[in-house]
Amino acid sequence: MQISLRASVTMIHGMFFGCFFMMAVFAAVVEMIASTYTAGGFELSARGRSLAAIYLTLTAALGWLAVLGGTYIVYPWYRVHPPAGITDLTAYPQWLLLSSGATSGWHELGMEWKEHVAWLAPIAMTMTAYVLIAQRAAVKQCRQIRHAVLVFACVALVSAGIAAFFGAMINKQAPVNGGPEIHLFSER
């Protein structure tokens, strides 16, 4: 059982950083909505506050790792130009997609949307983490701050969802592959 280096890095970018980020943002959104409807409010202990701070910081960090890895490692492999005269475009995902009218939309809509909208997510989630951790007293005092943060967190979730959907679909149509093969298990 083996996988190419590029495929494994792409998988870590999408299925580890991206997917865990999205799940963590979803949980944070649910928690924020739930806390809005808590009768009388509820107070975390000092330990609970520390754990919440670690959770939110890790969530934002996952978002940054996903977009930075995507932009600076996976995207260059995706958009690499094929040498002149080459007919097999399998190793050139962007050009493989653009070579057919049936698949060009995955690049022209999917990748072009994903590459930019994904960056809104870590920006929004970093702000969310900062406000919920460092401005806890202000959030508790002013309902509007909580609502504004919730809107940004929802946008982070939606933009990460768009990026995840198109990332998965594009990689299905034209997988990023190449580099040394990594042997996960030796076959008998």
């Binding site: 809509l109 920006i123 970093t126 002013c142 946008v155």
Partner: protein, 111 residues
């Protein structure tokens, strides 16, 4: 019923929220602008293998952090009109979401 008067300054939270809107909007505006200008695409290709995406996102992050730093300093001990700040932030965020949608950006650029 009116809300109790704020006692804890909301300035730092408002600064973080507004700057996130500014950073997001900057990213989207730069993305559209670089799509419509070969010169800008060239200038924003900080890391050529990633093309202008590297510059668009780097500049947006710098603008976001700079806006946050400046606003946080200005509003450190202040209580600002949060309704106005949140509406402005949502407008900037909505612009960002709309401009990152390629069919709309193409329409703006008359592609």
């Amino acid at each position: 019923m009116t809300e109790p008067e704020a006692t804890i300054p909301n300035g730092p939270a408002a600064a973080a929220i507004l700057s996130a809107g500014i950073g997001s909007c900057t990213l989207a505006v730069l993305a559209v602008a670089s799509d419509g200008s070969k010169t800008l695409t060239h200038w924003l290709s900080f890391y050529p293998p990633s093309g202008s995406l590297s510059g668009v996102t780097s500049v947006a992050v710098v603008v976001w952090l700079a806006a946050w730093l400046v606003l946080a300093r200005l509003w450190r001990h202040r209580t600002v009109n949060f309704s106005r700040i949140s509406v402005l932030s949502f407008v900037l965020l909505a612009i960002a979401l709309l401009l990152t949608f390629p069919p709309l950006a193409d329409r703006l650029l008359r592609k």
